[in-house]
Symmetry: C2
Subunit: 331 residues, 2 copies
Amino acid sequence: MGSDLGPPATVAGAAAASLHDRAPDLLLVGDEAILRAELSRHPHAKDRIRIVHASQVCAMDASPRDALERHPDASILVAARLVAEDHADVLVSAGNTGGVTLACAQSFERLPGVGRAALGAVLPTERRRGEKNDPFGLILDAGLTLEPTADDLVAFAVMGSAYSRVISRNPRPKVALLSIGSEPTKGTKAIVEAHARLTKHTGLDFLGNVEGMDIPRGTADVVVTGGFVGNIVLKMLEGVSDTAMRLAKSAKEKRLRYAAGLYLLGPALHRVREITDWQQYGGVPILGFDRLCIKAHGRSTARAVTNAIKVATITAQSDVVGSIREGLSAG
Amino acid sequence: MGSDLGPPATVAGAAAASLHDRAPDLLLVGDEAILRAELSRHPHAKDRIRIVHASQVCAMDASPRDALERHPDASILVAARLVAEDHADVLVSAGNTGGVTLACAQSFERLPGVGRAALGAVLPTERRRGEKNDPFGLILDAGLTLEPTADDLVAFAVMGSAYSRVISRNPRPKVALLSIGSEPTKGTKAIVEAHARLTKHTGLDFLGNVEGMDIPRGTADVVVTGGFVGNIVLKMLEGVSDTAMRLAKSAKEKRLRYAAGLYLLGPALHRVREITDWQQYGGVPILGFDRLCIKAHGRSTARAVTNAIKVATITAQSDVVGSIREGLSAG
């Protein structure tokens, strides 16, 4: 029910996902009448989709905590309970990030050794990784834990590594702390302490610190940072790409010569745009609980929702939570 | 004596600056024999340049504090003392940032109301500003104060506004706090508190919070943040530009079509490169003291040094320190 476009996008995305080879079984949670009406508009695999009614929806613009308290039968809470009670393997939502995380926290258990949850986000990098030459690196936390402790950063490193192994088919992801210099003494207290502990961690390929320029380069497969910095980094990359597009458009309109140049570069620019298109990725993980949640962008179109379901299916088929548990106890 | 290229670059840059219209009087501080030899290689205005001997130089790669203690006659300390004692109006250095800042702290007085110094850095933005349509915005702190308090952030806002007024000829620069949402409650404790205080500040055009995407867009003329985030942001922008250059180069080599496209876009790309070329800017201010210091990039070429001297001349001719004092007491 959540997301900016609401059921028309989420249901259409789920319907399309149900038709894929090796599609998962899908539970759609929300207002039954609305979901049924939307579903009837799209071709879908009937035996793969079931609707679970939830009598409430809650807008979470103001305070997600208050909104959820006042709506105990909100679709996001019902969906999280279904996962917690083993009726489903993974939660997918395009709703408000704070609200989705709170719903997870209410129904799921935090893993031993995890103080606070992290949102993983993907970003395009120059260097590629894993069996499929994945052009996406992982950065976490992307906004849940603004000022993490050293313990939090260590847990983020373990969780990111486990997730990256699965999603990029990369047996030994390179993990690094984002800081302001490569020396182990550079950065905030929490970073310096986390650096010392990660150096001794046996279950990780820990590179040490990376700096700002290493983010687009993709020096590390998993960049570990606090939620404040992660959010700024991600939104800035989005902004740089938007600004570049606007400048290109205005150059095109101003001079024929530029229009011709951009035309010739078309296929290369198309490839760059493809890589910087978050919709192709669809969803990113909320990590730290004994159950998985894939958070789709609030602006998700049907295509983005279909892709989020794909990501969720891959993570559900591999034991991401098990390898996080293992990494945390190896620490 | 400092910087990666050393006296060949700094002296050549100073020599070129001495030939400009309205060139300032220049004191070159360091090993007299070396400086004199370098100076003799370049045309310069003899009556505008004087050499002041300093018997020591200190490499500051390890610990600037130790290095300066062991070298009381280091060129950077001698130069800072000359400024403190009114023999010069502004200090220019391309040496190690930590060392330069310590030298300032030893000889200059911190302004009342300033807890910690800030390094201002410039970055190219889509939106322009001021009388000369300046494409550069200011961000501070760029690395001196990793985790500022609310008091620090308020002082940074005042200092950045005063500097931007002078350097961009922009009578009322828009100042904003970098955060993870526009609401006054978004961000870390220090940011939320600084937001409340800046809203009431009468001497500033305070926009509120801006987010990551506003940095390349240039929504604010002065972006206020902590040194950790500022450093990451600046290095990431550098990295994005490097990555884009490498991708363009490889596209050019791979297909004739792309080479032709890039050729046609040449003038536009040249303009972008010009704007993202830090050498044209040359130097950025260390703010918070009763004297000014312009810090040039460690990799400064002669051209960058000349431009840093230009920036220093402009700031010395306007009463930046006076307007910072005023802003701090208006707070």
